[in-house]
């Protein structure tokens, strides 16, 4: 099993969700996030005051998948989230040892 963590633009969340549903992903966890990579902050002046946003709003998705699904899911996310500009986000993959359904103690890929 693999955990996919994708940090994407807020505006791309709906498109990514649709793309994931299309490739058969039914469940995901979404977090409100802030951060920046090479895309730096933003400053706006209002009524003589400076409002600086160092960390840009993003959303982070977490999905745990059976290994054979991973490539399809990565492609779905990149296709839906890409604008070609700085700030499109990143995808991280990591190994997962076990999954347990709390309701009935079921274990393994069938939990996903």
């Amino acid at each position: 099993m693999t955990k996919v963590e994708a940090i994407i633009q807020v505006s791309k969340l709906e498109a990514v969700k649709d793309a994931l549903h299309e490739v058969g992903v039914e469940g995901m966890t979404v977090f409100e996030a802030r951060g920046h990579g090479r895309q730096k902050g933003h400053t706006e002046f209002y009524r003589g005051r400076e409002y600086t946003v160092d960390l840009i709003p993003k959303v982070k998705l977490e999905i745990v998948l059976a290994d054979e699904m991973v490539e399809k899911v990565v492609q779905a996310i990149t296709a839906a989230a890409r604008t070609g500009k700085i700030g499109d986000g990143k995808i991280f993959l990591s190994r997962i040892d076990e999954a347990i359904r709390i309701r009935n103690d079921e274990r393994g890929e069938s939990v996903l």
């Binding site: 807020v10 505006s11 969340l13 409100e32 002046f45 009524r47 003589g48 409002y51 946003v53 709003p57």
Partner: protein, 885 residues
């Protein structure tokens, strides 16, 4: 097999068989009260049998001599007592069984330790959830501040087995003595625990998935009300009072019906969940509605056709319990700390000729007064203003007045006058809740009937639709007192609103369409808003504002899902909103709407995004004001406004075209259709009189519109003349069209009430302005006299001057933004200086926020943008001028 083991086996069979039979009977009858009585009797029988087998048989006095204690079975000075819910005879299928092992004291505790352990063990083995306590009589008579719940549980004590005389001493002597001595502590503790519990549930009964036991208005509140009444009565009588006299008959009827209903619902939940879980989940609501659980109690079966109907019946019962419980918490003085009572005593000073205030409760000065609908509206306005609650008698009087009111409910401007004054008061949400609970709100505004106690299945929402709307209004009112960084930003916006009452009305109506299932709720809400605006006889411009807010209440949330830092997205959204005032309202509406979804919904992440979107759009609007209207083009740049105007006045089409040609689009966004048509009329009269003026009073200030031919120092001169009259300009707009005609509008406060006190001064002011515009009066001299008389005025907040030029935001002009300390004559001094530097004011957008003047001027010189040298020179001159007092 030992005797006890045989008994255990027997009891296990009995308990299993009888429990199944109770469940079976409930599934047929749905009668919760009967199920609880039968289950209580079952458990009574089991514990009494075990008492005989374990306690009586193991005690030497019973077995050896055969002598029995004075009354009851088992050893003397030892008794088994049911307390809490078990004591009341309300043993729900999965509730704890509260038992008190009562002994007389001395060595008896150690003597009974082992039998008690064995007795308890047997009950646990029978899979009964036992909650045991062992106390002697003296301990029961003492209030343990760390365990007030135990003292409260004694109020429901019931004899089960053992020394009856000991039990009688507990009930007839120890408990009355405890209550008499510690009445104040008991009530205060009970009140504190109850308020903390209510707070945990957001102080509202209207949860989408309510807890039928602990939620406000739930079974626990029923008990709290009874305990409060019981303790108060026992403290006075020193003995147990007659339970039937504890609450007034009028409350008792609704209260008992609510109890029967809630007993059935909780019983249903325990059987359904198979555990002690009192949450009325959505699936359980569907099932309860389909089975019409408790439906025959206080409602007609035919009234319940779906889950929403059943939930309304549920909320009706819960509300009546909540009201009685809260009334007792308010009315029993001991329920409050002495400090609070002192505060409430101080608040009684707000009493008026119509209402008196005692301990924070409103009473009517003239009991028959509510026959006058105005008095009724004044009552809720009073409540909203002072944050007070209605007394029981006042609520009763309101209920009595409703049938007559229903025949001829107030409407039109009279109703709107009171409603708007109520909506802007700090405690408006509480007044609305009280009106809603008494069924007055839907009587006045039937558009809200559909969302009364309405449960809408939504993963994020926590409250019913009506409560969500009240909460949104409450959140806006609370902004002012909040310490949160986010709230303070939004509070600043709120304080700038010109007509906050329109925003509150829009919040009240924004989800009204949810009462019509299956439809797009925004569209239905708009229809209901139209109907409500008609009922309130709203001014057309106000009606349009409320309609706009309701129609677009989800739009800013949607815009936040796009890239809020992308200038194209900002432009798109800002242009759709069009006017800064609407942007402020929409931003606050979005904030309040999200925050009222559930306590966690407005995260700092969302609040920051909303604020960033707001300031980006606000900046865009002030920096894109000079896009022009071109009446001849297919895309005239008016966003459909021009076509609308032509349809309103078809014969005036040419006149309107001439007037509008070349005016900034901002002009059309700021002024409604009726204003534009009036301005076009004034423009057409310029041939007769070269200075057209219109002065009118609007809600918060006066509005002066000037239409004339553009000339140097014009804007500065009029600003100066108004300042010389002592008027405080809070807002101004200046626009010019292609033919060189200007439309300037000044909004000002009449600081010395000159116009209010002297009607003839209206004409004198207009003549004075006209004379200044025509160059017949010396504005500098007029202003000098005024400023001399105001020299001693001290400013409370120091605002540092900031001057900024921007050449990029307009294709034709240079934008000058000045933020500085507001002061009399400021606009005149600033604009005179601009004119002296040979700059023409194409557009002026003037605002005042507290003591800060925010002036945005679009300037040209010789028909072009300002050169760098001219900008530098003007900037220096402005800094010097504004640095001088």
């Amino acid at each position: 097999m030992t005797t006890v083991a045989t008994v255990r086996s027997e009891l296990q069979d009995l308990y299993g068989r009888e429990s199944a039979a109770i469940e079976q009977e409930f599934s047929v009858t749905g009668d919760g009260r009967a199920a609880l009585a039968r289950r209580t009797a079952l458990v009574d029988g089991i514990v009494q049998r075990l008492w005989n087998e374990i306690i009586v048989s193991s005690h030497p006095a019973s077995t050896d001599s055969g002598s029995k204690p004075a009354d009851g079975d088992g050893p003397k000075d030892f008794a088994l007592v049911a307390t809490g819910g078990f004591g009341r005879g309300w043993l729900f299928p999965h509730s704890d069984i509260d038992l008190l092992f009562l002994h007389a004291g001395g060595n008896s505790e150690s003597e009974f330790k082992d039998p008690i352990r064995r007795f308890s063990q047997e009950l646990w083995d029978l899979r009964m959830k036992l909650s045991p306590a062992t106390r002697n009589l003296a301990e029961c008579e003492r209030l343990d501040p760390n365990n007030v719940e135990f003292a409260i549980s004694l109020l429901d004590c019931r004899y089960l087995a053992g020394d009856r005389e000991l039990f009688t001493r507990l009930r007839e002597k120890a408990i009355p003595r405890l209550v008499s001595r510690d009445c104040q502590n008991l009530i205060q503790n009970l009140a504190e625990i109850t308020r903390a519990r209510h707070h945990k549930f957001g102080n509202t009964v209207f949860h989408l998935e309510p807890n039928v036991k602990d939620g406000p208005g739930g079974l626990r509140d029923y008990n709290v009300a009874n305990w409060l009444a019981l303790i108060s009565a026992m403290e006075k009588l020193k003995v147990w009072p007659d339970e039937k006299t504890l609450l007034p008959v009028s409350s008792r009827r609704a209260f008992d019906a609510a109890l029967d209903f809630q007993m059935s619902v909780r019983c249903f939940l325990h059987f359904r969940h198979g555990r002690h879980d009192n949450t009325l989940f959505w699936e359980a609501q569907d099932e309860a509605a389909a089975r019409k659980i408790g439906a025959s109690i206080g409602a007609n079966d035919a009234e319940i056709t779906n889950t929403a109907d059943w939930m309304r019946v549920y909320f009706g019962h819960v509300l009546s319990v909540h009201r009685v419980c809260n009334q007792l918490l308010e009315e029993i003085p001991a329920a409050w700390s002495s400090l609070y009572r002192q505060f409430q005593g101080w608040r009684s000073k707000v009493a008026s000729a119509d209402f008196s205030v005692v301990d924070g409760l409103i009473f009517l000065q003239q009991p028959g007064g509510l026959r006058d609908p105005e008095m009724l509206l004044r009552l809720f306005h009073f409540m909203a203003e002072h944050g007070l609650k209605l007394s029981t008698t006042t609520e009763y009087k309101v209920e009595q007045a409703l049938p007559a009111l229903a025949a001829t409910p107030p409407r039109g401007a009279e109703l709107w006058l009171y409603l708007q004054e109520t909506l802007v008061q700090p405690h408006a949400a509480d007044a609305l809740r009280a009106m809603n609970a008494l069924r007055l709100l839907a009587l006045l505004l039937p558009e809200l009937k559909g969302i009364e106690a309405l449960v809408v299945r939504d993963f994020y929402h926590r409250y019913t639709v009506d409560e969500h709307s009240f909460l949104a209004i409450e959140h806006l009112h609370r902004l002012k007192e909040s310490k949160s960084e986010w709230d303070q930003r939004f509070a600043e916006l709120q304080s700038e609103l010109e007509q906050p009452e329109l925003l509150y009305l829009a919040l009240l109506l924004h989800d009204s369409g949810k009462g019509v299932p299956g439809e797009n709720h925004v569209e239905v809400s708009m229809q209901l808003t139209d109907s409500c605006a008609e009922r309130l006889d709203l001014d057309p411009v106000d009606r349009e504002t409320v309609r706009y807010l309701v129609a677009n209440h989800l739009e800013m949330s949607a815009a936040m899902r796009r890239d809020i830092f992308d200038p194209a997205n900002v432009k798109l959204f800002a242009e759709r909103v069009g006017v800064p005032e609407r942007l402020k309202m929409l931003c606050l509406m979005t904030y309040a709407d999200i925050k009222a979804v559930n306590p966690e919904a407005m995260t700092p992440w969302r609040a920051d995004n909303l604020w960033q979107l707001y300031i980006a759009c606000a900046n865009f609007l002030s920096r894109s004001a000079d896009e022009r209207v071109h009446t001849g083009n297919k895309d005239d740049g008016s966003g459909g406004n021009l076509a609308h105007l032509r349809s309103l006045a078809p014969v005036a089409g040419k006149k309107i075209n001439v007037f509008l040609e070349g005016l900034p689009q901002r002009y059309l966004r700021i002024h409604g259709a009726s204003d534009v048509l009036a301005h076009a009329e004034m423009a057409a009269r310029l041939g007769q009189d070269g200075v057209q003026l219109n002065l009118k009073q609007v809600r918060h200030w006066y509005e002066l519109t000037l239409i004339t031919t553009d000339r140097s120092f014009l804007f500065a001169s009029v600003s100066g003349a108004l300042a010389a009259w002592g008027m405080n300009i809070v807002k101004a707009n200046a626009f010019s069209n292609a033919a060189g005609m200007v439309v300037d509008t000044f909004y000002f406060a009449d600081r010395f009430r000159t116009l209010e006190m002297n009607l003839q001064e209206w004409e004198r002011l207009k003549k004075s302005i006209a004379a200044v515009v025509k160059g017949e009066a010396d504005v500098a001299r007029m202003l000098r006299d005024r400023l001399k008389s105001e020299k001693g005025n001290v400013t409370k907040v120091k605002i540092a001057t900031q001057i900024e030029f921007d050449d990029n935001c307009s294709a034709h002009s240079t934008l000058l933004q000045v933020l500085t300390q507001d002061r009399p004559g400021l606009l005149y001094r600033m604009c005179s200086l601009v004119s002296k530097h040979e700059c023409n004011i194409e557009i002026a957008l003037i605002e005042t926020e507290g003591q800060m003047a925010i002036d945005v001027l679009y300037l040209t010189s010789g028909g072009a943008k300002l050169s760098a040298d001219r900008q530098a020179a003007l900037g220096r001159a402005l800094r010097e001028e504004l640095a001088a007092r």
